[in-house]
């Protein structure tokens, strides 16, 4: 169980930094302060070792051979499927489809689930705070089918307007697509409530979990989702790994999305028949070594416990929010009561791009720009923000370094 308190449970503060080789790097003579985990997390040694072990000991194509290596590689790969199922609270490992990341997972749902079901005039509701990866795939399928994409509004804290959402739901609503956690604002959305209302009008609920898997406990049953997408690289696993969870009955009905090897039952020039889920959706050789390492990442997170990770990050969020509030001219973008440790902000008179360059010279890595969420920038009337996004390996000292760096930005721009 992902939410179980693991072996490391104790009242001591979490200290996992030493398990991350990259965090020992220096940038221009400064110790690295990595505050860009919403873009991608760093990887613990356990994950690096698992991927290396796959290639040193198990490397063979999965689901293909009768030889021992292929059998062992397949077992390791399928073992990771069970781990993802456990992390998300899936009833059956067959409900887990391995993909390259959340983007691919959402495109799969848009093309294979939604496209055959959409007619002109149907509606897809997407929140105003979505990452482009949970917006553009819906725009594409809308263009292909004549359906419409409508945005669910939010307020100035970055909290969804549930009353407006209820009014938007109707007999034409086919899909509600929502991020569990907003990458630009940190908002944790009330997915269970959104799903309950969506199901009331017969719409399917597609959840982008790219920003949640490494930060909050996830239980797809309790959330009432129909599909849930995660990216491995945002949860301590290698890039190019990810998973889609979908309800078995829905996945069974859906046509394949990509054709190729490993997704067929039989092939002839008269036609082909498809394998069962999840193989039906996994054409071609997968990133097996990466997926096995994703399993190791889940094991690593579960050993700490997602509850404990959230507690640690909540402490950083409170500390960081207070520290940034004391910086003159700083305005936080995204102040929802329920949010993760993402601190997005603008600094009066200084463009985020300049902030990012100056912080980088201090060894502080932040993201600047629109965070692939241009509608969010539009809503708050800013062209871009600076974003510090934290993870389990961050400390209060990292936030102190950020605040000191921002003071230097203000000095350089002559604001004090």
């Amino acid at each position: 169980m992902s939410t179980a308190t693991g072996d490391r449970a104790s009242t001591r503060p979490l200290d996992v930094r030493s398990e991350f080789p990259l965090l020992r790097r220096e940038i221009g003579g400064h110790p690295l302060v990595y505050l860009d985990s919403a873009a991608t997390t760093q990887k613990p040694m356990a994950v690096l070792a698992a991927e290396r072990d796959f290639y040193e000991r198990l490397n063979a194509n999965v689901h293909r051979g009768v030889h021992r290596l292929s059998v062992e590689a397949t077992e390791a790969y399928e073992g990771a499927r069970g781990q993802v199922a456990g992390l998300l609270g899936a009833e059956d490992p067959r409900e887990i489809v391995f993909v390259r990341g959340a983007t691919e997972a959402i495109n799969l749902v848009a093309q294979s689930y939604a496209r055959p079901r959409l007619s002109p005039g149907d509606e897809i509701l997407v929140t105003w705070m979505e990452h482009h990866s949970n917006l553009v795939p819906w725009q594409l399928v809308a263009e292909q089918t004549g359906a419409h994409v409508r945005g669910i509004p939010m307020d100035d804290r970055g909290v969804l307007d549930l009353e407006a959402y209820e009014r938007m739901l109707g007999s034409r609503t086919r899909v509600v697509a929502v991020g569990h956690v907003s990458n630009a604002l940190g908002t944790v959305n009330p997915v269970a409530r959104l799903a309950e209302l969506a199901h009331g009008v017969g719409a399917a609920v597609v959840v982008d979990g790219a920003q949640s898997a490494a930060h909050v406990p996830v239980d797809v049953q309790a959330l009432g989702a129909d599909f849930y997408a995660i990216s491995g690289h945002k949860a301590f696993a290698p890039m190019g790994t990810g998973a889609l969870w979908g309800r078995l009955a829905l996945l069974d009905e859906m046509p394949p999305w990509m054709g190729g090897g490993d997704m067929i039952r039989s092939v002839s020039f008269q036609g082909s028949t498809w394998a069962d889920v999840p193989a039906k959706f996994e054409a071609g050789t997968p990133n097996a070594g990466g997926i096995v390492a994703l399993g190791a990442a889940i094991e690593w997170m579960s050993a700490i416990g997602l509850d404990r990770i959230r507690e640690h990050e909540d402490d950083l969020l409170r500390y960081g929010t207070a520290a940034l509030a004391a910086v003159p001219g700083l305005r936080l973008i995204g102040t929802a009561p329920d949010k993760v440790a993402i601190l997005s902000f603008v600094l009066e008179g200084v463009h985020p791009h300049d902030v990012g360059t100056i912080l980088d010279r201090e060894g502080i890595a932040v993201r600047t720009g629109h965070h692939c969420a241009q509608p969010v920038m539009e809503h708050f009337g800013v062209p871009a923000t600076t974003r510090a996004s934290l993870s389990v390996y961050n400390t209060r000292e990292d936030l102190d370094a950020l605040v000191a760096g921002l003071q230097r930005v203000r000095q350089l721009f002559g604001q004090e």
Partner: protein, 154 residues
Amino acid sequence: MDSDLRELYQQVILDHHRHPRNFGELDSPDGRAEGFNPLCGDRVNVELKFGAEGRIEHVAFTGQGCAICTASASLMTECLTGKTREEGEALVEDFRELVTGTRDAAPGDAEERLGKLAIFAGVREFPVRVKCATLPWHTFHAALASESGRVSTE
């Protein structure tokens, strides 16, 4: 504070960022273009008007960008005034070579032509910021070429 940063954010650059010159729109411009950097959201609109003897009488800009982009646009409008089309194009190329570091800071014709624009030489130490400095110039180039051009850094 490290010297590369001081070099990048010189007082002149910060001054033009805070008080951009020729910021605004022109009445019936002869050329106009819109520049956009989709990676960071910087946006610059450049308008120009020719005067007697085919010389640029006025260049103005509007938009929203970082200090490097805004200062580059502001200084650009000052430096282009009075230039012919050909001289303007040559300056675009000189500036591009200056900030990408393909031209040394050694004295020469280009150095003379660049004049106070030489303060942007520090940008070459920050490769990811080169596009911020060149966006207004690419946009000016597009404004010369067409009456309603659109240019993107990507």
